[in-house]
Assembly symmetry: C2
Homo-oligomer: 212 residues x 2
């Protein structure tokens, strides 16, 4: 398991099996995006059964471990624990961070979705390594994401945050820089990388914008 370093939030790519064209496509997208500078990957396959999820997670770990890039599993703490992934991301309706931590152990990275000041206030002070804050902009990649909080909402949550935050929701090369200026340590993207004709180039361009 890789050690947590908040710099890994800089370009956080969520792998989507539909946009990437299945398990093999997610591995290929991850390798290309890694070559372009992606700093962390999340496997998010809400429609998949766990055995397929675990198999794909193991393939991704085989690809990413030699590169030293962490892999986080969305929602399923059991899959994360079983395959020895580097961490887990939970939303507000997933296992509570306290419950999730029991399953993944003290060393694994744990991220929490935060989309409002109320959720920020209720977030546990300890045990969570980062917040995913959003959706900043309107997104089509996650149908159940709430209403966009905008850059002002992001800035307010960045000020309230007790841990580093990554901005999420509708982020692309044209608006990524503005989220960093609001206090995000990095950006989480799905369609800005997954399904792009050249995921390596897409990642490299995003990283350049973020670092500019």
């Amino acid at each position: 398991m890789l050690r947590w370093n908040a710099d890994a939030l800089k370009l956080y790519v969520i792998l989507d099996p539909v946009l990437c064209g299945g398990g093999r496509g997610m591995v290929e997208t991850a390798l290309a995006a890694a070559a372009g500078g992606a700093t962390l990957f999340q496997l998010r396959t809400p429609q998949w059964k766990k055995r397929a999820m675990a198999e794909c997670a193991r393939e991704l770990l085989r690809a990413l471990r030699p590169l030293g890039i962490p892999l986080i599993i969305d929602d399923h703490a059991d899959v994360a624990a079983a395959v020895g992934a580097d961490g887990l991301h939970v939303g507000q309706a997933d296992l509570s961070p306290e419950d999730a931590r029991k399953v993944i152990g003290p060393q694994a990275i744990l991220g929490l979705s935060v989309g409002s000041m109320e959720e920020a206030k209720l977030a546990p002070k300890l045990g969570v390594d980062y917040w995913g804050v959003g959706p900043v902009f309107t997104t089509t990649s996650k149908p159940d994401a709430g209403e966009a909080i905008g850059l002002e909402g992001l800035a307010a949550l960045a000020r309230a945050a007790t841990v580093p935050i990554v901005a999420i929701g509708g982020i692309n090369r044209t608006n990524a820089r503005s989220t960093i200026e609001c206090g995000a340590r990095g950006v989480a993207v799905i369609s800005a990388v997954c399904g792009q004709p050249d995921p390596e180039d897409a990642a490299r361009t995003l990283l350049t914008v973020i670092e500019s």
Copy 2:
């Protein structure tokens, strides 16, 4: 966590949130069925998010622990581990029994769905406490269950089994006894108890039939 005893397979009630009318309904159904002699409960809420699942599992544990009746969680090893349930049931597309065991620990009960001789041959020799064998009869409670294997299929799998088996799929008071005669240690039911006008009476009648 309760110790495993294969007698708990005798009347195995799978709690369905739709048939029972939600979380509160599942607790009420469990208490009634327990009074009627149910020997084990499984929480199966495939459409629910994990936080609601964990909350409901904890309510069920509070109700069932004083009665000494085990509670098993379907599919979600992380929920089972987080709430300290007595065990987990996995299907063929869920976490592999080996992966599941890593998450729930050595003491928890682990059940595996087996529906064919091929699956029986591939089932691990160690680490699984029982098989759920079926669907014996046509069932409407689980849309993705395979084709019915019939009493002959059940008898063949009972002979091949390396652990005690519970028969599942379309079992009711009129056919329960026949599954016991084929070698099942007990029966797993959903709609024969959940949603019945009197779940206590439904359980008691089933138990009488099984023990006759």
